[in-house]
């Protein structure tokens, strides 16, 4: 009968372990060397975990920024409608829809990274427990060592940990790939945030919709000012008072 998929994968892991074992002249050296490698792998998985967490936090910050920008665009749309600028309101809502799309992408990526982080966390705990068990086993094998007697114990301990190392190593590489992909996309989102399509709260810069809305309202103020002056020139007292009254009312509301 031909091998099953699960036998074939097991065989690949086993042959890796055997190659390493065969290469050593004294099996005890394998134990020490492997222990050094295990420590390195533990460091690597912890660094990998920290990288994934950093990327996840960056994503969370971006999601927050997009959320704020989206809320702001909604407010602008309302403001623009109030000023009778439906075109501007439409523009703001269109941009907001674009942001919503971005945010749903980011949410999916966030879930993805969170899953990788969880996997690496348990992988790291598992490896930590196995490395500790290996260290104890290694010392006891070395203390009672006679070549023939210990060989089997060494093989088993080594194969067991080697399989775990291969598994964790693959998990780290996958997590690194995902983090790298994510960072490339996060860079694009940062550019979008910096481009003025969104208002960067740190730069204090104003986006074009805000500028237009300000022009609309300063245009209104100019019209009102002109009306007031015209009223003074014609010497009438009714019209200016009415406008001033409106203006005071407006300030009171603001």
């Amino acid at each position: 009968m031909s091998s099953t998929i699960m036998q074939r994968i097991a065989l690949i892991f086993r042959s890796k372990a055997n190659t390493a074992l065969d290469a050593a002249e004294d099996p005890r050296e394998t134990l020490d060397y492997s222990y050094v490698k295990q420590q390195e792998m533990l460091q690597k998985v912890r660094r990998g975990l920290a990288d994934v967490a950093t990327s996840r936090k960056r994503l969370e910050l971006q999601m927050q920024q997009l959320e704020q920008a989206s809320t702001k665009l909604e407010g602008q749309a309302q403001q623009a409608l109030g000023a009778g600028r439906e075109d501007l309101a439409r523009e703001a809502l269109t941009r907001r829809a674009g942001l919503e799309q971005q945010m749903s992408d980011l949410r999916a990526q966030h879930a993805n990274l969170q899953a990788e982080e969880d996997k690496l966390t348990t992988a790291s705990q598992r490896l930590q427990a196995k490395v500790e068990a290996f260290r104890t086993r290694k010392e006891s094998i070395k203390a009672t060592y006679t070549a023939a007697e210990a060989q089997n114990k060494i093989n088993e301990a080594f194969s067991g940990i080697s399989e775990e190392m291969g598994d964790v190593g693959m998990a780290i590489e996958r997590a690194e790939d995902k983090t790298a992909q994510m960072q490339a996309r996060a860079g694009a989102v940062d550019e979008l945030i910096a481009s003025g399509a969104l208002n960067d709260p740190l730069s204090g810069g104003k986006d074009d919709i805000t500028r237009e809305l300000e022009q609309v309202s300063s245009g209104n103020e100019i019209e009102m000012e002109l009306a007031r002056m015209k009223g003074q020139l014609t010497g009438g007292s009714g019209a200016p008072a009415q406008i001033e009254g409106q203006s005071a009312q407006k300030e009171g509301q603001a």
């Binding site: 099953t4 998929i5 036998q7 490698k37 196995k130 290996f134 291969g166 693959m170 998990a171």
Partner: protein, 92 residues
């Protein structure tokens, strides 16, 4: 027998399960051979599900090589192919 699910850990599964697992494994193999993604996901899901259902998780500090090893639940068809070809996927 000891079965490892990559990225998930090892399970101690009763030997009586071997026929059922082989059956599910051959469905997985045909899906991989035909390159059918949906069939692959389905077959992998069933195989992993059976192992989790019938197996007991092995103690974290156990140092036992596995009799059988199964792909990561999130692995793609292409990744499993590479793994089977021993395409340098396993570091070290």
């Amino acid at each position: 027998m000891i079965i490892r699910i990559l990225s998930e850990g090892q399970f101690d599964v009763p030997d009586s399960e071997v026929d059922k697992l082989n059956e599910l494994d051959s469905a997985l193999e045909s899906a991989i051979d035909s390159g059918d993604d949906d069939a692959f996901r389905d077959a992998l899901g069933q195989l992993l599900g059976r192992v989790r259902e019938t197996g007991q998780p092995v103690a974290l500090d156990a140092l036992i090589p596995s009799n059988l090893v199964l792909p990561d639940p999130a692995a793609t068809l292409a990744e499993v192919r590479d793994l089977l070809n021993d395409d340098g996927l396993i570091p070290g």
